[in-house]
């Protein structure tokens, strides 16, 4: 029979309606003011921390909605934003160093919705306020440093083997070095020795006047790896620093080959954020002064050659002021587990660092050595001359006993856990920052503007929707009402889908995309309804007119939507930030509007008019 849908199609439609409603629902519940407590280096958030937070809150006469310990973080939900500010102050003061508390808005999604993965829409920075930084890693600098490193390493390697060379210098190509020898034999000897121990380099020799010249250049892979390392290192350092800022839900993400995006929702003081992100750090290895008693040292009785520094957990150590080695000799540091499953950090030094380390450790086996981490952090104040006041913050990252004479690569063992090893490795690497970064784009949206953007967007959507709905109803009557039902459900579906897809964020252009979809989504129904009218005019029966209206309009609708989809995909591919947001809503909108305006309206039309022979006139 014409225009009858089998039961399964209705069940399918019902299921899709239900799922969309379910996943769109979290957006109705709003958000709770909350405080998010996380640990920075070394410290961990434990049940004891949770207890302490709860005691602090009850002492301050604040009754939180809930407190949860999850993923190494504590989330305290509060009833009002006044409570939130007081609570943060109390917690921030009393919990002490090592913990960072951030103001946050936690979605008040009910548990049963959360259990099925329901979450409200993620809002872009333009809607909730915050800072967006685009940073560029200075790759020229990274390559230049690698080249410098090559000169040092090759020189040391040749000297070690007592292979004589006339000179070594950087090549003008910026990715290689030039070595000069007096004879071909010596050159060949050098190549024979260097080539196997230096994979990733291209060797090329030539004769120039009376000199034998060897050019060593980084291979493309080596060059790529160097750049990749520089990016990864900066990414790691930025992540660490962002955590220290105590921002809820920060984003640190690479973009392309040499850029990093940092998004800090809710941060208004960009100057401070920038200074912390751009802080420099160095690292030094010092001998530990074991002769001076720590208690004497703490009251100031210590030799002038020694100094007291604290470890992150507050334990003081007396160390000698003389430096064994500075961090710029560290080539790499990686955390791993030893054969017994204990955490350790493997460190490689450059050749110069290696010989310094080996000279010092030869005579100091069995003695402790301290790793001192120095950070230059801006205090946020200005000095009299207008420059930012910078505070030097020293901290002992680790004290280890020297077990043997160390060379270019060694390891620090006896670390408490993998997290500590990871942190130490990160700090060690930070001591040898390969390439500096600079901010190439910055966007700050104030909280008032963010809120206003949401309000404006929703208002525009409501008015636009109202105009379209009224028009459709007056023009197409009952069919118009059906199209309107589909249209409203289309919006629910877009919201539901966007809430469901991880990583999809709603931006202001995204809202504009939804509004545009509202205007264009009825197009499919207009095409179908106009076609039905034509078929009726052409003298077809009501049932046949409906059927052919739908089927004849289908290919047109498909063609028109596919081409729009092409433009949306291209926008998505080349666009960034807000534009991507627009492209995403446009793509989702095209898919959902096809579904609701064809399948959805047909289901309703079939249910009302399908298979009936008593219809004289269609309300279209």
């Amino acid at each position: 029979m014409l225009n009858k849908y089998p039961m399964w199609k209705y069940l399918l439609l019902g299921a899709i309606v239900l799922i969309s409603l379910l996943y769109a629902a979290p957006n109705l519940y709003g958000e709770d003011p909350a405080i998010q407590i996380s640990a920075t280096r070394g410290a961990t958030v434990e049940l004891a921390t949770l207890d302490k937070v709860e005691t602090l809150l009850s002492e301050a006469n604040i009754s939180p909605k809930s407190t949860v310990l999850e993923n190494g973080q504590i989330l305290v939900r509060l009833t009002s934003s006044e409570d939130q500010l007081i609570a943060r102050e109390v917690i921030g003061e009393e919990l002490g160093d090592g913990f960072v508390s951030a103001l946050n808005l936690a979605p008040a999604t009910p548990d049963w919705l959360e259990a099925i993965g329901g979450a409200p829409l993620k809002l872009g920075l333009d809607l909730r306020g915050g800072v967006h930084f685009l940073m560029e890693v200075d790759m020229d600098e990274a390559v230049a440093k690698a080249q410098e490193q090559m000169v040092q390493d090759f020189r040391a390697e040749l000297r070690e083997q007592k292979i004589r060379f006339r000179g070594i210098r950087k090549a003008n190509t910026e990715t290689g070095i030039i070595l000069r020898f007096t004879s071909q034999e010596v050159l060949d000897k050098a190549v024979d020795y260097l080539k196997p121990i230096n994979p990733g380099y291209l060797f090329d020799d030539a004769q120039d006047n009376s000199e034998f010249v060897l050019t060593v250049a980084m291979s493309d892979e080596k060059l790529k790896a160097t750049k990749e390392d520089a990016l990864q290192q900066n990414l790691g350092i930025l992540r660490n620093r962002v955590n220290e800022l105590g921002v809820a839900e920060p984003l640190v993400q690479r973009q392309g080959a040499d850029r990093i995006v940092v998004e800090l929702p809710g941060v208004q003081d960009t100057a401070r954020a920038k200074e912390i992100l751009g802080a420099t750090a160095t690292l030094e290895f010092h001998p530990v002064d074991s002769e001076t008693d720590i208690n004497d040292a703490l009251v100031g009785r210590l030799p002038s050659s020694s100094i007291v520094y604290k470890e992150r957990d507050g334990r003081p150590h007396v160390i000698k002021k003389s430096i064994i080695l500075t961090g710029n000799h560290i080539v790499d540091a990686q955390s791993s587990l030893d054969e017994y499953g204990r955490a350790q950090v493997n460190i490689s030094l450059d050749s110069q660092g290696g010989s310094k380390m080996s000279r010092f450790t030869k005579d100091n086996i069995g003695k402790p050595m301290a790793t001192l981490f120095i950070e230059y952090l801006p205090t946020g104040k200005k000095k009299a001359n207008g420059k930012t006041e910078i505070e030097k913050r020293e901290e002992i990252a680790n004290v280890a006993t020297i077990q043997a004479q160390l060379g270019r690569s060694f390891r620090i063992t006896g670390l408490d856990n993998a997290a500590e090893a990871h942190n130490l490795a990160l700090l060690l690497r930070a001591g040898a920052l390969i390439a500096p970064i600079q901010i190439v784009e910055e966007r700050t949206i104030g909280p008032s503007l963010g809120k206003q953007n949401i309000d404006n967007g929703i208002k525009a959507m409501v008015y636009g929707l109202l105009a379209v709905v009224l028009f459709m109803f007056f023009y197409y009557r009952k069919f118009g009402a059906i199209a309107n039902t589909a249209l409203i459900f289309n919006i629910v579906m877009i919201v539901g889908l966007m809430s469901m897809i991880p990583g999809a964020t709603l931006t202001l252009p995204g809202i504009a995309g939804i509004v545009l979809t509202v205007g264009m989504a009825v197009d499919a129904n207009v095409l179908i309804f106009e076609r039905i009218r034509e078929e009726i005019k052409a003298g077809k029966s009501i049932q046949r007119a409906i059927n052919e209206g739908y089927s004849n309009a289908f290919s047109t609708i498909a063609d028109a939507n596919i081409t729009t989809l092409i433009t949306a995909i291209i926008l998505f591919a080349v666009g960034t930030g807000p534009i991507k947001g627009f492209a995403v809503t446009l793509m989702i909108g095209i898919a959902t509007s096809m579904f609701t305006s064809i399948f959805g309206t047909r289901a309703i039309v079939n249910a009302i008019w399908g298979g009936r022979n008593d219809i004289k006139k269609l309300s279209i």
Binding site: N456, G457, A512, M520
Partner: protein
């Protein structure tokens, strides 16, 4: 039944195709002229520089703000109202030797220390000059790739004469929309670029609906001339064209009026694009196809079955 057009007798669109061609040619030449004389008022996204939007408690007096900025040695800053008299937008071009990153905070500090009462930071944007140039390059590339992809798709689905007509219409729409932006010196930012691509999608949508009908009618009306077929097809789809343009214009006007100043450029570009796009799908796309000699024979050899016509109705 309410109907905009009865559609019983075909409107003779193609009769006016000559004047329409002249009109289009004039608009395109005028657009290119203003584009080369006035250029485009590129937004911060493309030029680089610093932009600061601040909110004042009282309506802001622009000359005063300019003076405050000049005293703080920000000469040449562009100061204008944004959205309302309480909001002010300040643009500062990238400068040699000055870190753009710090300018925003300095301007804000200068305004806050002057006597304006409460000055609320709404947004600060800094775009490095290289990033701006890249964005412009990527944007231009996006439009060209979009046009090529569409050309390929339409050629595959229809016929090259129709595809050429469709792409002509799109280029026509983009050039004229750009021309209007150039003539009135409206700011061209990333959202406008997105809108331009949306115009491409919309205009094409319109063109394809007409083309679909043309293809269908060429097969049905075996004795008619191409002009008659095209006229007939456009008349048949005219109701739909007008209604869809209408509903889209509803929402765009709503976006323009209440959507806030940030989205003005976007809605303006789309509004212009939809007016031009509706016109171009009739006169540029169809007329070009007719001029290229599209006829019944081109529609026959390719056995183009309606997609899904051989299947059970899915919907």
């Amino acid at each position: 039944m309410i109907e905009l057009f009865k559609g019983t007798t075909p409107i003779r669109f193609m009769k006016y195709s000559k004047p329409a061609t002249w009109l289009s040619a004039f608009l395109i030449i005028a657009s290119i002229a203003t584009l080369s004389i006035n250029r485009i008022n590129w937004g911060l996204d493309f030029t680089g520089g610093t932009l600061i939007e601040v909110g004042f408690d009282q309506p802001a007096v622009l000359p005063d703000v300019r003076e405050t900025l000049e005293q703080a040695s920000f000469e040449g800053a562009v100061v204008q109202h944004f959205g309302s008299s309480h909001e002010v937008l300040i643009r500062i071009a990238p400068r040699e030797g000055v870190k753009g990153v710090v300018i925003g905070q300095e301007v804000l500090a200068a305004l806050q220390s002057a006597d304006y009462g409460n000055v609320d930071m709404r947004r600060i944007e800094f775009v490095g000059p290289n990033v701006g140039a890249e964005l412009a390059e990527d944007g231009g590339l996006a439009i060209i790739i979009a046009l090529i992809c569409i050309m390929i798709y339409v050629s595959a689905r229809f016929e090259w004469r129709l595809a050429a007509g469709a792409v002509m219409a799109l280029a026509h729409d983009i050039i004229i929309t750009l021309g209007v932006f150039s003539l009135f010196q409206l700011e061209f930012d990333l959202t406008v670029l997105a809108a331009l691509l949306a115009v491409v999608g919309y205009s094409l949508n319109d063109t394809i609906v007409v083309f679909d009908r043309i293809r269908e009618n060429f097969r049905l009306m075996s004795t008619s001339t191409p002009d008659q077929v095209v006229d007939h097809s456009i008349t048949q789809t005219l109701n739909r064209t007008m209604i869809t343009s209408g509903t889209t214009i509803f929402v765009l006007v709503s976006l323009f009026v209440v959507g806030g100043a940030l989205i003005h450029g976007f809605s303006t570009a789309l509004l212009i694009g939809i007016f031009v796009g509706t016109y171009s799908s009739i006169y540029v796309a169809s007329a070009t196809a007719v001029k290229l000699g599209v006829n019944r024979l081109h529609m026959i050899p390719e056995v183009i079955e309606k997609e899904g016509a051989d299947q059970d109705a899915l919907m």
